[in-house]
């Protein structure tokens, strides 16, 4: 049985215009799991439920083996949490913010924080509001990593960053994670982030987890069939995850490219599915998509 950092079962949360429906989510311990889905799919709500920032209507969440509500203090002391908009006081310096937060974490290391601050070029004497969004995110990352968290939860950490800064941030994160094998769950709607650092991918749509799979499985096994309608209709229904009409025929996303090749023979084009394509096919916004 897989060792899990997060185990959510039957998680429900209803808002007026949106509901998270019986979500089951497994985040393996020691790996990076990317939570991906279109805007409004429920990524942030799910992460907030794990952090107990919003109240669940039903279900359970176990984090590192502990209930996230009953054992809230123990759970949160082992989590490094990064928001898309870091919630620090704008008129307080980075150094003072870190000084205010540090005592809450028994494992906090001032030396590690200073090392990370130097590595990320953080101006500790400057007020939070004077920093660029990228530097704010790096400060949040430094705080999250300075108390030796076993699990990093990150809600859209790269949103709003330009390409170069995003890449730098992910490289920083990857380098740190490679050394320490922490568990990470991060949400994003940017597929290239997944390709860079994720080991597992969980796809959420309309408040429900559609799949959680190893990234390599998705990359190596999933494919896109481009052919005419009669050919696509010959595909086994069990492997088809979505279809869309195109000017030149039909595209079908399949969960097993080898099985599709076996079913169709050598003629039709079957490409590897990119994360972008998986996202488009599996998303509500996808053109004429009929998810299987």
């Amino acid at each position: 049985m897989m060792d899990l950092a997060i185990e959510a079962r039957g998680l429900r949360k209803r808002y007026r215009a949106f509901a998270l429906k019986d979500v089951d989510l497994d985040v393996p311990r020691g790996y990076v799991t990317g939570l991906i889905g279109p805007n409004g799919a429920g990524k942030t709500t799910l992460i907030k439920l794990i952090m107990n920032l919003v109240r669940r209507d039903a279900g359970t969440v176990r984090v590192l083996g502990l209930d996230n509500v009953a054992d809230e203090v123990a759970v949160k002391s082992r989590i490094g949490f990064i928001y898309d908009e870091p919630p620090f006081y704008h008129d307080v310096t980075l150094g003072d913010s870190a000084r205010a937060i540090a005592p809450f974490y028994p494992q906090w290391s001032d030396r590690r924080f200073r090392d990370l601050a130097a590595r990320f070029d953080l101006p500790l004497g400057k007020r939070f509001k004077t920093l660029s969004h990228g530097t704010k995110m790096r400060f949040a990352l430094a705080v999250a990593l300075s108390h030796d968290a076993d699990l990093l939860l990150m809600d859209e950490p790269t949103a709003g960053l330009d390409l170069a800064f995003r890449r730098e941030l992910l490289d920083d994160l990857t380098a740190i994670l490679q050394d320490e094998r922490k568990s990470v769950l991060f949400s994003t709607h940017i597929t290239t982030d997944l390709e860079r650092i994720a080991d597992y991918v969980a796809f959420i749509r309309d408040g429900a987890i559609v799949f959680t799979l190893p990234k390599d499985d998705l990359r190596d096994r999933w494919g896109v069939v481009r052919a005419d309608r009669p050919t696509v209709d010959r595909l086994p229904a069990a492997i088809v995850r979505g279809q869309r009409e195109r000017p030149y025929g039909v595209e079908a996303l399949v969960a097993d490219a080898a099985a599709a090749r076996e079913a169709l023979g050598p003629g039709p084009v079957i490409d590897r599915a990119s994360f972008d394509e998986i996202m488009v096919f599996m998303s509500r916004e996808g053109n004429h998509v009929q998810a299987a």
């Binding site: 907030k48 952090m51 107990n52 920032l53 919003v54 109240r55 809230e72 203090v73 123990a74 759970v75 949160k76 002391s77 989590i79 949490f81 928001y83 908009e85 919630p87 620090f88 006081y89 704008h90 008129d91 307080v92 003072d96 913010s97 000084r99 205010a100 937060i101 005592p103 809450f104 974490y105």
Partner: protein, 228 residues
């Protein structure tokens, strides 16, 4: 609890210090600039305690302004501990503000710089009761709804007052409302006379503390349900 108080002190310390300084200058300057009034030290202290009682709201309003409520709730502490720290911290901030002003005024009075009537036995009681009433009334709203909660509370209180006046004018004349208020004041005065100053003071402080306890229980219940 201590960690939460320390966090709030670090994150709000400079703003609080600036507020203390500006407000103290205003309060201390008022009796100096308007000599010859018949105000007592105790009445002046109540006038100071009232705005000081709103200082806890300043801290929570700052948290709202920076959308930093989620910061406290993502730290390894319970919601109950956060609510407790708001009350303890709120009382401390208000009492320190009042104490700074009262202390400075005492020095100024002793130096003959003001003409306030000397302080009475009632000064500390009046300050504590004033702060206690404001903190107990406003913190549940503030913890749940932030600054907009305070505004809603204050506007609602004003509207309730207007409605009460209208109803009184329509059905019994304003004299009825005045009679009710005078009766309440008389009842308090009667209790003070019946119990004696010492027992009445203790009773007033205990009543305010119980009110704060009830307010705290409500705040905990509310804050556990707040979503970020």
């Amino acid at each position: 609890m201590f960690k939460l108080l320390r966090k709030d002190a670090i994150l709000n310390g400079k703003v609080l210090a600036l507020t203390y300084a500006l407000w103290s200058a205003f309060w201390l300057g008022y009796p100096v600039l308007r000599p010859g009034g018949d105000a007592s030290f105790t009445a002046w202290a109540v006038m100071v305690a009232l705005p000081c009682a709103f200082l806890p709201i300043l801290m929570i309003a700052r948290e709202d302004k920076f959308k930093a409520g989620a910061l406290a709730c993502s730290l390894p502490v319970t919601r109950d501990a956060i609510a407790s720290s708001r009350y303890v911290g709120g009382w401390l901030v208000a009492l320190v503000g009042a104490a700074i002003a009262v202390g400075a005024m005492a020095i100024m009075s002793a130096a003959g710089m003001t003409e306030l009537a000397p302080p009475t036995f009632w000064l500390p009681v009046a300050v504590v009761v004033t702060i206690g009433l404001v903190v107990a009334s406003l913190l549940p709203f503030t913890l749940r709804f932030g600054m907009s909660g305070v505004l809603v509370f204050l506007v609602s209180a004003q509207l309730a007052g207007i409605v009460a006046l209208l109803v009184a004018a329509m059905f019994g004349g304003l004299g009825g409302l005045g009679t009710t208020i005078r009766s309440a004041v008389k009842a308090v005065a009667w209790m003070r006379d019946a119990l004696g100053p010492a027992a009445f003071s203790v009773a007033a402080v205990v009543a305010v503390l119980f009110l704060n306890l009830a307010s705290y229980r409500l705040s905990v219940w509310i804050y556990r349900r707040r979503e970020f």
